[in-house]
């Protein structure tokens, strides 16, 4: 049958593959993407499957590739994505790939390690250079002019002295202690943040007997392992004695300060400094070369890395699938079970033949169709246009196998119901333009894989949005609403006939349709533009929009009930046609379609320009009250001069309709269970009599049995045997269905009034934005007006897009979705199937590409 109206016919197939050819065949099937494999080893542990080693190797390769990718990204090298789709490589090529990756990874790791060691060396030398420079300052200061004070130990390096002795307290100390005190020092580098704590610790631990000088290093230094730039300071600590020396060293270790040997004599220091500079230059050169090498390696890898990723993922997918297969007794052949669309059997056979040829095997694979009682998966073949609508339906529930698919009808009813709520020519135009842009630039936009989920949703639904926009333009044209203003194309069919004095003295005047104010036939397309400038617009619009909401709703629901008939006819459930479809139709039509007909009668029969008061606006009945009275069997009440009813015989006719509709309820409730139970009993009797006949073995019995069997209804299409349900369950099921339908028809009909509500809200919001925002910009003249208009237009357009197009659009979209899912589909849809998920490289690669970017 037509492709999208029902899900595809599926069949369970058994696939026999020779072990050598298996890999190539699965690779071909993966490119095709039409086969869903079943797991034939469900209770086998993942680690005990046949191809677990190969999967592990693939995992390892992927890990190496990810490491490479990380390094490439760190250096900011662009990765070339040619968009080509390389085929899954043969198993023997896997070893080559593994070797390549291993080599690359080792090389990169080595380079990185070397670079780190070099950088560490570089850091040490830099720090030493700084120390040598700064301590020069300390020693200089000490020499040139500090006086011995209680805390300072200024008299230190005396360049003239040969011995490295400094007196701490100067002459007094010598006089007091008698012995010249020898002052030792350590020099090093520490993080700047740690200096205060370091100083405090030193002071406390050494009881104030050490002296710290420090100077900041201006340029930040690069930490080799983390790569951060940190600020450090040079320090020098002077102390006396060995104990203090040990203590100081321990504290330095604790604060992770690096100590450097610093010669005291300035000549030595200068020599050392020069040596350090030379070594630094050498190191710089080597470092540069290392980085270059690394860069070259990465650039070479970056050219192929996307390709490699695709290949490795494909290999892994193939081995995962091969793990699902069974090995047969002879150990030479793999058996697989798969769900396959019947129409594609030829294509799959071709693919299998291609795979066998590629692998060079001589034995052709065998594809056998199997009979199965399981429910096949639901497969809807969609193209890029119908895909969006199918997704909307599947989000609620995947269709049962081979039941009617609501998607093709949703293509039009969804945008139409949306448009009733969104009806505005201007906003519809904006929406249609946006969607049109997305559709026209499909290919470039699709190639640019984006992470933003919101954009992906909009782009995936571009055809839905386009249709919604186009229909909104049509309904906006009919509602005569463009950004809350009306178009006057054909000239208004209302006119004013008041004279000047009446107009001047009365603030408000109402036009009378029964006079010449109204041209007696309406504006040809849509609402008359006079209503937009009328104060009582909402009263007229309410009556109009409520009626169309109910009319559209009743027709939508009727359509849903008719689809259920199509389902029953296909699945040959004649009982259901008689016991469910017919009473449902009668109930819906006799009550709600009758109400719709009353609406049409009221529109056509009651008018202002009439001589008979009975059909004048004074006597026009309220449809709602009439309906309520009908259901409650009440009498209609009407003012004196009017007819009680719209047509003669209305009351008995209505009573008849209600009675028949009410009779449908027990019909729906009891007919099907009774028939089902009767059928079950008949089957039991027949089975029993069959057994007896076979036991006896008489010809008569056989003939009777054959006759009896002839009376049983024709066999159903390949379908699971209906389980025999107990009577109680059948009655409960039917009770639930009946209550759901009966109460639902009332509540769903009222639910369609949301079409009116949202349309009203949209129109009012639009009007508010115009009156409160844009109109203020139009009220000024001259260049002041220009600026004012520019500002107010900016505000108005931002709010229009944000509130009216986006927010209201989303709101109307959700309500339409609800109307489809609940009010429409509850009339016929079961939605108990499961989706067809074929083994497809495209799907696997797409999901793998999405996952790490999140």
């Amino acid at each position: 049958m037509g492709n999208l109206f029902r899900s595809e016919e599926m069949t369970l197939c058994q696939l026999f593959l020779q072990s050598e050819a298996a890999y190539a065949c699965v690779s071909e099937l993966g490119e095709l993407g039409l086969v869903q494999f079943r797991d034939l080893n469900p209770d086998v542990n993942a680690f005990q499957r046949k191809f677990v080693n190969e999967v592990r190797r693939c995992d390892e390769m992927e890990r190496k590739l990810r490491y490479l990718e990380k390094e490439i990204k760190k250096d900011g090298i662009p990765m070339l994505d040619t968009g080509e789709n390389p085929e899954a490589p043969q198993p023997r090529e896997m070893i080559d790939l593994e070797a390549t990756f291993e080599k690359l990874e080792n090389e990169l790791r080595e380079v990185n390690q070397n670079a780190e060691a070099l950088k560490r060396n570089f850091l040490e030398l830099t720090e030493l250079k700084h120390i040598l420079r700064k301590t020069q300052v300390f020693f200089d200061e000490a020499e040139y002019g500090c006086y011995p004070t209680y805390y300072s130990s200024s008299q230190m390096a005396d360049p003239s002295r040969e011995e490295e002795q400094v007196t701490l307290l100067g002459e007094e100390g010598l006089r007091a202690g008698g012995q010249a005190l020898k002052l030792g020092f350590v020099a090093g580098v520490i993080l700047r943040e740690r200096i205060p704590a370091f100083e405090r610790m030193l002071w406390r631990a050494c009881r104030g007997n050490v002296f710290l000088r420090q100077a900041e290093i201006e340029t930040p230094l690069e930490d080799p392992s983390s790569g951060d730039n940190v600020f450090k300071s040079v320090f020098i600590i002077f102390f006396q004695g060995d104990q203090l020396k040990t203590r100081v060293k321990k504290i330095c270790e604790g604060f992770r300060a690096t100590l450097y040997p610093c010669p005291e004599a300035p000549a030595d220091r200068r020599e050392m400094a020069m040596g350090v500079m030379t070594r630094l230059e050498d190191l710089n050169t080597v470092l540069g070369q290392t980085q270059d090498h690394r860069h070259r390696v990465l650039v070479a890898a970056a050219k192929n890395i996307k390709n490699w990723f695709v290949k490795v993922r494909k290999i892994k997918a193939i081995y995962h699938t091969l793990n699902l297969f069974n090995l047969d007794v002879t150990q030479k052949c793999l058996i697989a079970e798969c769900w396959v669309p019947v129409l594609d059997l030829e294509t799959i056979q071709l693919a299998l033949r291609r795979g066998t040829e590629r692998s060079g095997s001589s034995v052709p694979p065998i594809l056998n169709r199997m009979e199965s009682f399981e429910d096949p998966p639901t497969y809807n073949r969609t193209n890029k246009f119908t895909y969006g609508f199918q997704v909307l339906i599947d989000a609620y529930g995947v269709a049962t196998y081979r039941e009617v698919n609501p998607a093709p009808y949703t293509i039009i009813t969804f945008p139409f119901l949306f448009a009733i709520m969104f009806g505005d020519l201007g906003h519809g135009l904006l929406m249609a333009l946006f969607a049109g842009w997305m559709v026209l630039r499909e290919k470039p936009l699709a190639a640019k894989k984006s992470d933003s989920e919101i954009w992906n949703i909009f782009f995936g639904g571009r055809y839905v949005i386009l249709l919604m926009g186009l229909f909104s333009m049509y309904t906006g044209f009919v509602y005569n609403d463009i950004f809350s203003k009306s178009l006057n194309i054909f000239g208004s069919y209302w006119t004013v006939n008041y004279n000047k004095s009446t107009v001047v003295t009365n603030k408000d005047l109402q036009l009378n349709p029964s006079t010449d104010d109204y041209y007696q036939h309406p504006y040809p397309i849509g609402l008359d533009p006079v209503w937009q400038v009328a104060e009582n617009k909402i009263i007229f619009m309410n009556a109009y929009k409520m009626k169309i909401s109910i009319i559209v709703g009743v027709f939508h629901m009727l359509f849903g009930v008719c689809l259920s008939l199509w389902n029953y006819m296909y699945f040959r459930k004649r009982i259901s046609i008689f016991c469910e479809f017919i009473p449902q139709m009668i109930f819906l039509c006799f009550l709600f379609l009758y109400m719709v007909i009353l609406m049409f009668i009221k529109w056509t029969c009651y008018g202002p320009k009439t001589d008979d008061v009975k059909t004048s606006p004074y006597c026009a009945p309220s449809i709602l009250i009439t309906f309520i009275n009908m259901v409650l069997f009440n009498e209609n009440s009407a003012p004196e001069v009017c007819d009680q009813y719209m047509y003669s015989g209305q009351r008995p006719f209505q009573m008849l309709l209600v009675v028949i509709a009410l009779l449908c309820i027990p019909w729906m409730l009891f007919a099907k269970p009774m028939l089902t139970i009767r059928n079950q009993r008949r089957m039991h009797v027949l089975l029993n009599s069959n057994h007896q006949n076979h036991a006896v073995g008489s010809e008569n019995g056989d003939a009777e049995a054959a006759l009896a069997q002839g009376q049983i209804p024709p066999p159903l299409p390949p379908h699971k045997e209906e389980e025999e349900l107990p009577i109680g369950e059948i009655l409960i099921h039917q009770g639930i269905h009946t209550i759901e339908y009966v109460l639902g028809s009332v509540s769903h009909t009222a639910s369609y009034l949301r079409l009116w509500a949202l349309s009203l809200a949209h129109a009012q919001l639009s009007e508010v934005l115009w009156n409160m925002v844009l109109r203020n910009g139009l009220m000024f003249e001259g260049w002041v007006g220009g600026i004012a208009l520019w500002i107010t237009f900016a505000i108005w357009s931002t709010l229009t897009v944000a509130i009216l197009v986006l927010m209201e659009g989303l709101s109307a979209f959700l309500h339409t979705l609800r109307l489809h899912w609940v009010e429409f589909q509850s009339k016929f849809y079961q939605g108990m199937g499961y989706d067809f998920q074929p083994f497809s490289f495209e799907a696997i690669l797409d999901s793998a590409a999405q996952a790490p970017e999140e």
Partner: protein, 80 residues
């Protein structure tokens, strides 16, 4: 009543062509069924929508209430 024949005829014929004639002319291909359904539903819904709007205005039960400024503007701009 207050209906004019011309718009009703034009619109019914227009959507009739879209919904009844065009489906026969749809080119054969895998999408034939979908296109036919789309055309028929579009014609049905759009025609119904226009019809309801038209019918609701042929016998208006109330007239528009206008402020006197609007009346003056209407008299000046819209009445030929």
């Amino acid at each position: 009543m207050g209906a004019s024949v011309v718009p009703i005829l034009v619109f019914t014929i227009l959507w009739g062509i879209v919904g009844i004639v065009l489906p026969f002319v749809v080119p054969k291909g895998p999408n034939r069924g979908i296109l036919q359904v789309v055309l028929m539903l579009t014609a049905a819904t759009c025609w119904l929508f226009w019809l309801c709007c038209y019918l609701s205005q042929i016998n208006p039960l109330i007239g528009p209430k206008l402020s006197n400024r609007t009346v003056l503007l209407m008299a000046r701009e819209w009445v030929s």
